[in-house]
């Protein structure tokens, strides 16, 4: 046996042992997120996900809210904006966000992986409605069932008020939107559903009632071009959620900052801009109706 062969065999053995040790070490290491952050560890930057489904074109407002939250929770805050609920939910599930303001529908879909932080209060309750709207000149439409063969605008595939509710309404008669309407499309923001209907690009649309009401205050000339045909029953208002495993101190601090917004002048001003009364703590059962809808309605 040559020296080379002896050495090869020796090092092969050592190499194999080393490999096993390294693999074992890697497998036993705690799960660390992309930013080197472990579950339960306080992040350097607190990332809060928002979407234009809800908060559209509100850069100045988000800057003010960021400043307010940073003062309260004593952490750097970064608002992360993405185009859809799906993208924000994915980021939450991958621990790339700490908190997010999402719709009740994605919350119930992933409630095992998300924790409810708080629910806004609107008109005194943590509830809102889905509005069916048509262009102002359309006096004929009295319900969604008058819209066969028309063009319909949804907001987001994961929106309760902007998609799930009208879909469920049709499904009660065994109808799918794809077969009922001539064409459907998503605008990716509730405000844009109103724009689509106001411009008559769509013959009708489903919109978050809170957004329609708020636009009525800030952009009445837009809302005046539409007419509310019907309003749904009330559902749990889109909640603020946290990813599972978030640091408890951070969670409590952030939750308190939201709940106490109506106790500080800057917070009150921000709530006024949002057109909500404040934030509240609610049970996940508040979204039971949305969960029931989601289970009933098939998706192609």
């Amino acid at each position: 046996m040559t020296m080379l062969t002896i050495l090869s065999k020796a090092f092969a053995g050592v190499g194999a042992q080393l490999t096993v040790v390294v693999i074992a070490a890697l497998l036993s290491a705690p799960q660390v997120s992309a930013q080197g952050r472990q579950n339960g560890e306080t992040p350097a930057v607190v990332r809060i996900g928002v979407t234009p489904v809800f908060l559209d074109h509100q850069t100045a407002f988000l800057n003010e809210w960021k400043a307010y939250l940073e003062k309260r929770i004593k952490h750097t805050v970064q608002f992360v904006q993405r185009s859809s609920y799906q993208e924000i939910t994915d980021l939450l599930l991958k621990n790339q966000l700490e908190f997010a303001w999402i719709c009740g529908y994605p919350f119930v879909q992933h409630k095992a992986s998300l924790t409810l932080v708080s629910v806004p209060l609107y008109k005194g309750a943590p509830l809102y409605q889905s509005y069916l709207i048509v262009p102002r000149g359309d006096e004929r439409t009295q319900s969604i069932f008058d819209l066969e063969g028309k063009v319909f605008a949804f907001s987001d595939p994961n929106s309760n008020s902007g998609h799930l509710v009208p879909r469920a309404l049709l499904w009660r008669l065994g109808i799918t939107p794809e077969s009922f309407f001539r064409k459907t499309f998503f605008t990716w923001a509730h405000r844009k559903v109103v724009e689509a209907v106001a411009a008559k690009v769509a013959d009708a649309g489903a919109v978050d009632g809170y957004v329609w009401d708020t636009l009525g205050l800030t952009q009445p000339e837009l809302v005046d071009k539409t007419r509310v045909v019907s309003k749904s029953r009330r559902y749990g208002f889109p909640p603020v959620v946290a990813r599972k495993g978030i640091d408890r101190t951070l969670f409590d601090s952030f939750q308190r900052a939201l709940l106490e917004m109506n106790k500080h002048p800057e917070g009150i001003e921000l709530l006024k801009q949002l057109n909500i009364d404040g934030f509240s703590i609610q049970s996940p059962s508040l979204f039971g109706d949305i969960e029931a809808l989601a289970l009933d309605v098939p998706f192609d």
Partner: protein, 217 residues
Amino acid sequence: MRNLSLRYKVPLRVGILILIVAVVVTTSLIARSYLIFKKDLVVSSENIALVTARTVRAPMLRNDVWTVYEIINAPFEVESGAGALQADAVIVLDDMNHVFVSTRPTAYPIDIDPFENNGDLGALKDKIIGAGQHSGTVTATAGSGDLYVMTPIISDGVILGRILMRYPDTVYTTRFASITKQAVYTTMIIVALLLPVGWYWGQRLAEPLVLSRRLFR
């Protein structure tokens, strides 16, 4: 005119010559401006159509109606200056030549056949559908005088649809009227300056002739 003294005849002829030259030059400049303007309009509108076709390609692949609408409608949300080159309608057709979305949703609703019951588009249907077979932009003037620019939307060699941009004939007439008005005013000012000068030089030119006539009478 024959019995008119040279003292007046010469400057008068100079004046008439100035007027004739001014009218001829102005007319030829206006005609040339019109042709250049029309050519520029076609080239500009073709460029705009090509850029728009490329921009809407990605959302069309995703069947994203609203994003395509926002893209084609964006120029209409910005107030343009008087006489600016702007289409008054943009229609995006899908691969079945139905309306995918348009900036005039009442006239061209989604998913309808835009060629039915539409004189202009009906007449240009073959040209419109022909646009893109050889990956080209087609420009055509309809019976109404409106200019249509048609460009295919192509992804990986596959035609996803077509962009139709309509420029009303008032784009010509408004700009042309403006150019003509400016040219006429400028000519009038120049003629107003040249006529007295011409009269003076004409008289100066005629003076020795008048003198020599007197001498030889």
